[in-house]
Symmetry: C2
Subunit: 308 residues, 2 copies
Amino acid sequence: MKAQMTDLLFHEVGLRDGLQMEALTVPTDQKLRWLRMLMHSGVDIIQVGSFVHPARVPQMADTDRLFAALGESGEKPANVTLSALVLNEKGLERGLACGVEMFCLGVSASETHSRKNTGMGVGEATERIIAIAGEAGAAGKRVQVSVQSAFGCGYEGKVPQERVLAIVRRYLDAGLNNISLADTAGHAVPDQVERMFSAIMAFDGDVDMACHFHNTYGLGLVNAYAALKAGVGSFESSVAGLGGCPFTKIAGGNVCTEDLVHMFGTMGFRRDVKLDQIVGVAEEMANFFGRDLPGTVYRTGTPAEAKI
Amino acid sequence: MKAQMTDLLFHEVGLRDGLQMEALTVPTDQKLRWLRMLMHSGVDIIQVGSFVHPARVPQMADTDRLFAALGESGEKPANVTLSALVLNEKGLERGLACGVEMFCLGVSASETHSRKNTGMGVGEATERIIAIAGEAGAAGKRVQVSVQSAFGCGYEGKVPQERVLAIVRRYLDAGLNNISLADTAGHAVPDQVERMFSAIMAFDGDVDMACHFHNTYGLGLVNAYAALKAGVGSFESSVAGLGGCPFTKIAGGNVCTEDLVHMFGTMGFRRDVKLDQIVGVAEEMANFFGRDLPGTVYRTGTPAEAKI
């Protein structure tokens, strides 16, 4: 394993990817409360929101205000980075104006998915994302670029590994070496995850790899484990496993933060992260939405301190 | 990996370990319907029930009748083995009388758990189980011996690996080489699983290893994946992930059969197993108990044929 006991990063994306499918709008003050709890839980990066048109995703309408509020108060611990998902130049502009510290940008490896999301094919979208990432980097910000639908596509089915690796190579050629592979459709399976990340490691051992899994078929944690084995050091997840589609019966959202923290903790990784505090956020979220959320540990209860 | 694409075994234990905690008694005819569906799904071994006093576990009162009904009808496919859990000499006697094909017996690695369950310490219980297993083998039956609480104990917490390995060695010395490790309390974590089974492989490469995980902290599938990597060839699981305690909020029961079959199928293992049919049983069970059960695939829906 490339990862050392101390250098795994937890990137909490529940406030963005977790909430964006929820019909019930979370008030800004409620989000701020959860963000504050998460900022003191020991997770490393917190995705506050995305910059999209409010008419398209109303839940993300207050992203600028959230950044401004946290920035003005000066309450953010120095070891926590606040990230945002940015889709285009307008998003970069908004993000730079409100104090985003880390810009996350991506392109889909699926031609159909790319055209539906951006109106552009994969090649064109990649060059555009690289240009925006370059501007964010030039402004002194941290940048993470991703390949979406890296393990399969809801429209196209299988996505050839070579197509994903070609985008990764293009990122690396452009000097972008913080790279996330996102299993947007929840199709990833563990041996595929190991093969894919091992292939990236094989052509650049210094790349900082991140992963983003969905739990559609219950494989989120297995895929995260496989990613760890293949050298991935940054793990995107959502508190309580938020992020499933509440309008369908599909249970699985994002891989669940507290379940992931528990798993890695039992393996000796990042014992500094305060599992109880993340569980506290999950409990508040379940209460807010008035339903059981997918996470397991928050329902089972935190294991005895002796165990983790 | 020791396992080949074709030789993984699925051991369905839902009708035993899955049901024994359920307060709502499942009528014998309903069990027979589910058993018949499972017998034609491609799983290899089906645990029909256990032999315990009906006053202690009423749900298991009809185990003898289930075996008799399936035996008399001659409907069982030749490639399916019907197993039962046996706790003592009386159980062996009942099992031999009603046609059990495979006897599963076990001892706990936890002194406290052993004494609570059997009134005997680990050493005495081991010798007794070995004697019963020997009788079952002498009667021409398949035998699987297990170590319960092999990865941790609800009473004692951590269980030293050496204590588990000592029982395994005693089994091997007695000529019993089909050995299951059971995570009775749901405490197992994947690197521990790899270490434990690798240690067994290291002192006998020919042992047939089986595993039995609970999903208490959401790690059932991860542990099964880790077990596969370490050379385990037989996987115990419950349809729909049954087996959690319905009286508490603990979500996780046994590792879920259809989720496991899906995971291994995507890796190329045992593509002959009919996922749809197992999902069909899970749906009927959810309907029977009138609540969502823990399994993910039965709720998400079977992946497109192209995927698995």
